[in-house]
Every structure is written in structure tokens, then in C-alpha cells.
Symmetry: C2
Subunit: 369 residues, 2 copies
């Protein structure tokens, strides 16, 4: 049964688009079809997702000229070279400006495909079909696309909005549990930075959401995804280019990117690194006098319930290494590291005037000497 349970319209003037969230949407031809304006369609996916869902998506596209680009799986392939391989395929197929790219996969596939769509012939349409929880809540809204560079994550990219996002939560049935947890890190982020009621609901429902076997559990999950997308959409609609309030969405990310960068991408999943980063942000917020010990424990507790790490664990990284990796992050203006901290639980703010000593204390606590 095709079942669009929720539709969220992301309001961005002439770049507005809908997000569909529901069951079995990969059987809903009209949902996808109506957002394709030309005849040429390229589905971009990776070697992991291809055997699972490519045929289903191709079945929806019988009215179009369809090409497929299959990328190698993994963050390490999120490079300009991989984007260029999509350009090769598009040009070999003589695809023109009326083409539509469809990103079928997780955040890496979405980011690469989005940037390819932004840059091919200076911009063609694209549609996202995110198949991981992380990409469903994180990449569905905001239009951020891009790739990594050897010297830093997401350093090359564009803002490019999709024509539509189709979130079929049935695709999460094949998602490894570790990746599901990593996605929960972003879900929890939305609760922590802006909605204490959502945090309470997550604390109550997280086992059911993780279980996800019964229809009512699926409805809890659909509701959680919807709330994340809606919160992000509200923020992005007032700050598309990330010059102000949108930076709140980086809660845990400057720490997290630093961890990923210092340890090498792939040691932790992105969501895992962000989880550690959010806990570090909570610790620093405590030292800054904004959070109580109980608040910090509550952050740790929900992350742990979601199956997420709260320490860098066995990995050998010094505070200085982490600091340097963080300072390469693009959220740096004129040399000072800008961080998202807690004002109180459920409310975050952007700070550059925290105590450097407190930051060092947190870094030392989480790193090896």
C-alpha cells in the first residue's frame, strides 16, 4: 500500500519543494513523475544500494530516457573525481540542461549528486530519494551539496535545492543498525538545540523507534523525521546561505568534523562523531555555567540509548591534534573557532567568546595526552 503519510512543503520562494514521508513510496509512480520536467533522467546510486532499490526506482521511470551512474560506496569517494565521473556519464549520454538527476542513497550519494546537478551545465534539476535515516533528516532540507577535499570536509560545493524529496522509511529496513543509530544522532540534535518536548518524546519512544517493526512504531519514526525536517525547514527558510541562525544546526559538528578529520574519515560514522561532539558541547556548556551536571547526563543518556558513543574511546589523538583539526573547519572566521553551545537544554546559541581554557579542558578530557 502506497502511503504518503506526511508532506512537508519547504518554502523557499521559486525554489520551494515538497518532502514526502511515508511507507512504500518507491512503488508510487506519480509521486516521482510529477517532479521531472524533461525526458532525460539519470539515477545516481552506489554499489550497496543498487541491488536493493535501483530496480524499484527504474520501474517508476518507464516514461523517461533513463541512465544510471553507480558510484563506489563510502565517504572516501566523496571527491571531485567522483563528481567528474558523473559529468563523464552525463556528457557521454548527451544529457542537456533539461535533465533531472535522482540521488538514490545516503548522504554521500545525495551530496555528490546534488553538486553534480548544481554544476552540470551550470545547474540542472535533481530529486533526492534518501535511504538512510541520517540523510532523511539531514540532507532533505537545506540544499547543501558538495564533496570533501584532502584538507577538509565539505570544502567544495554549492547550495542547490532539490525539486522534491521522497522519504520511504521502508528503505530503513535494510539499514545496518549502526547507521540507524548514527542517524538518530541528528534526530536527537534537533531535540537538543530547539525542542525540549521533542527530547522528552524521544526519551519515551526511542526503543519503539529503533524497533520499527510495527506500523505504530513506523508512525513514531515518520513523526520524528517530519519534526526534524520541519524544524530544519523553518531555520533554513530564514537563513538559506547559513549566515546566521542556520549555524545552530552545526551543534556538535565542529567538534565532530574535527574528530573525523583527525582520525581520518570513516573511523567514526558522521553521526557518531556528531554525537561525541554534542556531548563535548554539553560539557563545555556546563563549564561555561549554562548546563547542570544533570543536563549533561541527560544528553549522555539519550545518546547512549540511541546506541551512540560519547567518547573518542581507544583512538590515539591529542587535544592539540583535535584543536588543529577543528580550526580547519569552515565555521572559522578570522582565526577564532566558532562553536554552537547550549544556553539551556533545548536551546542553543553560537559562541566565539567562551573561555579558551574551558575548551582546552574539554579537549583534554576527551583526548589522550
Amino acid at each position: 500500500m502506497s502511503n504518503i503519510q506526511k508532506i512537508l512543503n519547504v518554502e523557499l520562494g521559486n525554489k520551494s519543494y515538497p518532502i514526502y514521508i511515508g511507507n512504500d513510496l518507491l512503488s508510487d509512480k506519480s509521486c516521482l513523475e510529477k517532479h521531472i520536467s524533461g525526458q532525460q533522467v539519470m539515477v545516481v546510486t552506489n554499489t550497496t544500494i543498487e541491488p536493493l532499490y535501483l530496480e524499484k526506482v527504474k520501474n517508476l521511470l518507464s516514461n523517461f530516457e533513463v541512465q544510471v551512474a553507480i558510484l563506489p560506496d563510502g565517504e572516501r569517494h566523496k571527491t571531485l573525481e567522483t563528481v567528474n565521473s558523473i559529468f563523464d556519464a552525463l556528457l557521454e549520454a548527451k544529457f542537456d540542461r533539461s535533465a533531472t538527476l535522482i540521488a538514490l542513497g545516503g548522504g554521500v550519494v545525495g551530496d555528490i549528486t546534488g553538486f553534480a546537478a548544481a554544476s552540470y551545465q551550470r545547474g540542472v534539476d535533481f530529486i533526492q530519494i534518501p535511504t538512510t535515516l541520517l540523510s532523511q533528516v539531514d540532507s532533505s532540507v537545506g540544499g547543501k551539496t558538495g564533496v570533501n577535499h584532502a584538507l577538509g570536509k565539505n570544502m567544495i560545493g554549492a547550495f542547490h535545492q532539490p525539486r522534491a524529496v521522497i522519504i520511504d522509511i521502508d528503505t530503513l529496513d535494510t539499514l545496518p543498525i549502526r547507521e540507524f543509530s548514527a542517524g538518530m544522532a541528528e534526530v536527537i540534535k534537533y531535540a537538543l538545540l530547539g525542542n525540549i518536548d521533542f527530547l522528552s518524546d524521544l526519551e519515551k519512544n526511542i526503543d519503539s523507534i529503533k524497533g520499527g517493526l510495527h506500523q505504530e512504531d513506523k508512525e513514531l519514526l515518520i513523526d520524528a523525521i517530519y519534526r526534524c525536517c520541519a524544524e530544519k525547514a523553518e531555520i533554513v527558510s530564514v537563513d538559506e546561505r547559513e549566515s546566521g541562525v542556520r549555524r545552530l544546526l552545526n551543534l556538535g559538528h565542529t567538534f565532530g568534523h574535527g574528530i573525523e578529520n583527525a582520525l581520518g574519515y570513516g573511523t567514526y560514522l558522521h553521526g557518531e562523531a556528531v554525537a561525541i561532539g554534542m556531548y563535548m558541547a554539553a560539557k563545555l556548556s556546563q563549564l561555561e555555567g549554562n548546563l547542570s551536571v544533570e543536563d549533561v547526563d541527560r544528553v549522555k543518556s539519550i545518546l547512549t540509548l540511541a546506541g551512540l558513543p560519547c567518547s573518542i574511546g581507544k583512538y590515539n589523538i591529542t587535544a592539540t591534534q583535535l584543536y588543529n583539526a577543528m580550526s580547519l573547519d569552515k565555521k572559522v572566521i578570522d582565526g577564532n573557532i566558532r562553536l554552537v553551545l547550549f544556553l539551556y537544554l533545548g536551546n542553543a546559541y553560537i559562541s566565539q567568546d567562551y573561555s579558551e581554557e574551558n575548551l582546552n579542558q574539554v579537549l583534554s578530557e576527551f583526548c589522550h595526552s
Copy 2:
């Protein structure tokens, strides 16, 4: 004497910017300074322009942290790899989102630098200092940036508007005469496609403009550049993304890109290929019944006066090869080649319903069998 003779404001809402046109602007510190919002500035130029003008520009930037990226000269370096070398330099210098890139050079430097600015950290500021006539009239307005791909010209890029454009016509003193003529092809294009009075003025003044030694000649040149930029600005302001009237600016370009593509980039300068292309468009327009023989001769005459070619000459290329090279051009929608033709001299239109037979006749006339 610093001498801003003309200022044209390109109106694009919050992306509006000024174009300064005059003498000795590379000695005018405030003109450049006021369009730089951060502290980090990277000047991107090439090996030809560096010894001529880099020091002058650096002298204007004594209040900033300045880095320089020097690219190899030539269209064949207008690639994703070259853009990536700029990313390398930006990241090594730890440049952040507040950085400004300055493109010092011709169209190739401008296109590459603009795309690097569009894509670095999803978009940073850039300023254009075009040093060739072609780039002064063509790249100053419109925000088109990008690079070539082995399978086609300008296939990868972005729309990204500069913060300001500074046209110092003194830089044309060092421009080889062949390149000056190539720039005149674009000047003539603006006359041909939209302004018959401008065409008459050019026919009267072209020798003085080419001479350019006396102040009054320079004023004629400044006026011609201003008229081109103003005409382009008017068109772009109503059609930034090239979905309609902006396509008129492709007069001669689909033929021209086809010639460049079939012969290999660099055989003809871009402006030379466009000149041949405009003459081909005139010939086809005559076969379509829109131009008289006298009109076509007038097109040939002004191009010849400017020192431009009106035939493919000695090069060995068949009509089929040229047709195939043209059909790869990005102005193709759903398989039909869209061309800009003359309705009458001084007025162009976009056509997909010309006679295929007439096109073949023109291609045969210009190509070897």
C-alpha cells in the same frame, strides 16, 4: 591620473554590483578596497598577466592578507584540475568563508576563478579585473563561470555574480592585436543582435578604436565597452538563468563552439570562432529569407574591418563533423539544435524551426566536403 569615466550598476537585487570602466584604475586603491568585506584575499592570475599587472594589483591590497595563485595560460587549462589547484591553495592558506578571490586576467582566468569562488565552501566573494577586451565586454556581466570538459566547452560551472568588475582599458595596451580583434567580435555581436545605431558607430569608428593611442580614441573604446555591458546587463537582469531572452547572446556561439570543438580548442580564438559563427548565422538568415545579400555583406565587412576571419579557411573539417560538434553544444534541447538567427540586422531571435536543408547548405559552404 585615476579616471573612472563610467560606472554601470548591474541590477540583480541583493546580487547587484558595479562595473567601473576607465583609465589607470589599477592605481585606484579605494575602488577595489571597498568591495572586499573580509581580510583574506587571493589574487588569481596566469603566467602571462603576472609580470604585467600583478604587482600593481598587490600594491592596492596592502591592507589585506594576500595570497596569489598563478595558473598556466591558455584555454586548455580551463579544467576541473586547475580549479582544484585553487582549492588546494585556498585550503593550504586556511582561507575561510569571508575570503575574496580576485580574477586578474582574461576570460579563462575569470571563468575558472569565478567557479572556484562559487564552489569554495559553497560560495565566497569574487571581484573581476578583466584584462582582455573579450572578457571586459563578455564576462563582466552575467555571472557565468565554469570550466571545459573533454566532451564539451563550459559544461561544468555555476552562476555566481562578482562583487565588482574593474575594467582598466590601459591593460589593453599589452593585449596582442589578434586578441583585441577577437574581443571586437563580441562588441560587434552586441551591435548586430540589438542595436543598429551602435553598428553604424562601429563602422565609422573602428579604426580609431583599434588604434587607441589618443585619449579621444580611448573614450570611443570606453563608450563601446560601456554600451556592450549595458546591453548585456539589461538582458541578464530579466533572464539571469538563461531560460529565455539571454539566449540571444549566443549569436554566433553555437556555430562557434562547434568550430572550436571540432578543430580543437585553441586553433581559433573564441572570438574568431564566434565571428565565423555570426557570419554563418547571417548566411543562414539570408537563406531563411530574413536578410538581404547586402546585409550579409555588411556583416562580413564589419568583421573584416575588425581583423576577424569569416571562413574556416584551410582547416579540414566536414559539414557532418561540424554538425555533430554543434549538436553537443548545451543549447540543445531534446535533440534539436537551437540557433540564434537574424530577424533583420540589429535584431536577432531564437529559432528551432529553420529549414534543416538551409543549415546543411551553410555548413557545406563553410566546410570541406
